[in-house]
Subunit: 428 residues, 2 copies
């Protein structure tokens, strides 16, 4: 049996080329291959066109050990993946009685009559390993060429069928043929940008070959991916943890708030550990902050509710923000943020109150308070504080999203443990 | 200027090859190219590796008029897209002072010091057309080769930056180089699924060649894209409007709530027209409904604030939901939804009160109330009503998102005008 070290994914479907559907199949298969330590250097999409499919399949086979194709297995005349692959691999198609039975019984279960064009779905390349489709009609298969050592795997296009078949049939098939495993973790960083992180760690990253260390920006945060190649997951995890320890001891360490997590998950678990509750008073974020926290299952353990205080009237009537404060400093001010945070903490009855008030735009900005000016208020039994942010005016949704992240981060910091200590904690 | 008829997209990024992110950039660009009538026969993804990028770029250029690359423009040492493209196109990189200024001022606005590695982002291929990045640092560009007539466009990888640059810079650039103009509008449909719409309009759609009519599902809604090929935008718009009129007169008409809009925008403008205000009491959506409404600039005209009543205590204390109601029917019930809607309307003092209570999962489902059971309550001066939803359990975020959309839709319906009438109105 040949070891499979490299693979390419080739997705067949015009609907991808016209942007009708997002290619989630490629992402799913890619992450699974990465977990198995099978490297991928290229990925392709072609329409339902046999000539182009043949060309790309041939060149892909010249580059790697395994080509995984998805799509084009249906009963219709323009579904030609299997035919093309068989041709390229020098195999004939022959009827697989067992597959035909399965297709028939699938239609029986649906109480429908199988039309003849479905027989096509049971025609399989000679000498292939057939992969049953437990959630659809079209079976998949693997074709291995003894001489060249090359392998082609064909999977159905519908993500539900592809995933089911991948987990039940393809994963075990590849398990027998892989060389090593890759273990990967991402450090969550807040308050330090991608290029600053890269600047601080360049030498370290360039020196790291196994594990590798790579920064990437996602959704207003920076992450550091640490990936180790090893014989087992356990060995990989050990290597990764060693490297993470070094990173946490670097100048980046204080900005690391967790591993493979999010600010909202971190806040919920911190609060749960300390048996504390939080509440929010939101102006410019208009509910997004509470919405983000409650995206975490079990958020109800630490969150009873909050107030969206969009109008000054609501800030005053429900949260007790003083009229003088609103007149003297305005609703977008540290003073108002502090009163909102304290007010909502009292109003809802929580250990921690966090408020957001600011200018999300597009209108409302002034010389001294431009769009992007946001104040985060924090209140607990020990008192109140406010943080002033100047978020770049990249549009209303951007300002609101970054405000939410900063509010979550201030809450995380306030729950007591140094974020860095906590992350170090993950290490021991 | 050469006419561009065919294109390929080449996305650069190891994070795609290891399945860490889904390649939404390719889908976005593909659909926009399709709208412009530019054909695509192949699409590729390569890692941050100059040799392979060179190979794939060269072969792509041999097949089509235009290659669009995304990603690998960052400041870090492994970002090599621009360098490789310049090399393949036989251009040198030179410092673009204007771009450098923009990168510097980006950091200034963030109050951060620009690290030297960022200068790299201002190095542009000689003779290219620079595309400013208004929402990030890395500029993009277009390189046209007079002799071969081939064109390469480079765009940043982060979807937010890529989309902004595509709409502001790339679309106008391609506009000048395409054979004809395409004018496209999308009808917003709610309460009727994609396949139902397809069934209702199949013959009509098959008969429509110019404009073409295509349904697509997006974010829990169905849209009908009507696209006309014409000599001018005006001519295209006329053709599209004629076709839209026919659709609005079909059985799909009553489910059309607008054209190129969203439920939240529709609700805000309806309320503004009627000089009404709305408020929300949210349980399972935890603030997302208010967050969605306040994503619309000027939402403050129609929304003073709302309550996130996550715990029963908050439902009872602030919204006046009766203890008997909670004991007898539970928090996830039509009775509770109605009391929440009325309660929040009184509490905040608004014309319309809308509530959401339900089971978003993963836990908490029962035999008679499975995950996905959601009640929407509506209250206005004429009384209260509740709607019961059974949302497919496609995960917590899906259930919450569909609940938000249904709440917005119930509010839209309640503001009085028939949604269909309104859409017809757009037409006259």
């Amino acid at each position: 049996m040949n070891v499979i070290k490299t693979a390419e994914i080739l997705c067949v479907g015009t609907e991808i080329l016209i942007g009708e559907i997002v290619n989630t199949n490629a992402a799913y298969i890619s992450s699974r291959l990465a977990e198995m330590g099978i490297s991928q250097y290229h990925q392709g999409v072609v329409g339902d066109n046999p000539e182009r499919l043949r060309a790309f399949l041939t060149s892909a086979l010249s580059r790697c050990d395994l080509v995984i194709l998805t799509g084009g297995l249906g009963p219709t005349y323009d579904d030609l993946t299997k035919e093309t692959v068989a041709d390229v691999m020098g195999r004939k198609l022959e009827l697989d009685p067992r597959s035909l039975e399965r297709v028939k019984s699938y239609f029986d279960r649906l109480g429908r009559k199988m039309t003849d064009n479905n027989i096509k779905q049971a025609m399989m390349p000679q000498g292939c390993e057939v992969f049953d489709n437990d959630v659809g009609t079209a079976p998949g298969c693997a074709i291995e060429d003894g001489e060249s050592g090359k392998c082609v795997i064909i999977l159905p296009g519908p993500p539900r069928e592809m995933k089911d078949m991948f987990e039940k049939k393809v994963a075990p098939f590849l398990e027998k043929r892989r060389e090593y495993v890759l273990y990967s973790e991402s450090l969550n960083i807040f308050g330090m940008g991608e290029s600053a992180v890269e600047d601080a760690l360049r030498e370290f990253m360039e020196a790291s070959e196994n594990p590798t260390v790579a920064p990437y920006a996602i959704d207003g945060e920076c992450r550091l991916r640490v990936t180790a190649r090893a014989k087992s997951r356990e060995e990989g995890r050990e290597k990764v943890k060693e490297t993470e320890k070094k990173i946490l001891e670097s100048s980046v360490g204080p900005y690391v708030y967790g591993v493979d997590t999010t600010l909202e998950k971190t806040l919920v678990s911190l609060l749960r550990d300390k048996n504390m509750t939080v509440t929010f008073a939101e102006s410019c974020t208009g509910g997004l902050l509470a919405g983000r926290l409650t995206s975490v299952p079990g958020a109800s353990d630490v969150f009873d509710g909050g107030v969206v205080s969009y109008a000054e009237r609501v800030k005053h009537d429900f949260l007790g923000v003083k009229s003088e404060t609103l007149e003297k400093y305005g609703a977008v001010s540290a003073e108002c943020a502090v009163e909102m945070a304290k007010g909502v903490r009292m109003f809802v009855g929580a250990d921690l109150g966090v408020s957001v008030t600011g200018l999300a735009g597009p209108g409302g900005g002034t010389e001294e308070k431009p769009v992007g000016t946001v104040f985060i208020g924090v209140s607990d039994k020990s008192g109140e504080r406010a943080v002033e942010l100047h978020i770049r005016d990249n549009g209303r949704e951007y300002v609101r999203n970054i405000a939410v992240k900063n509010a979550l981060f201030e809450a995380v910091k306030n729950v007591g443990e140094s974020v860095c200590t906590r992350s170090r904690g993950d290490d021991h």
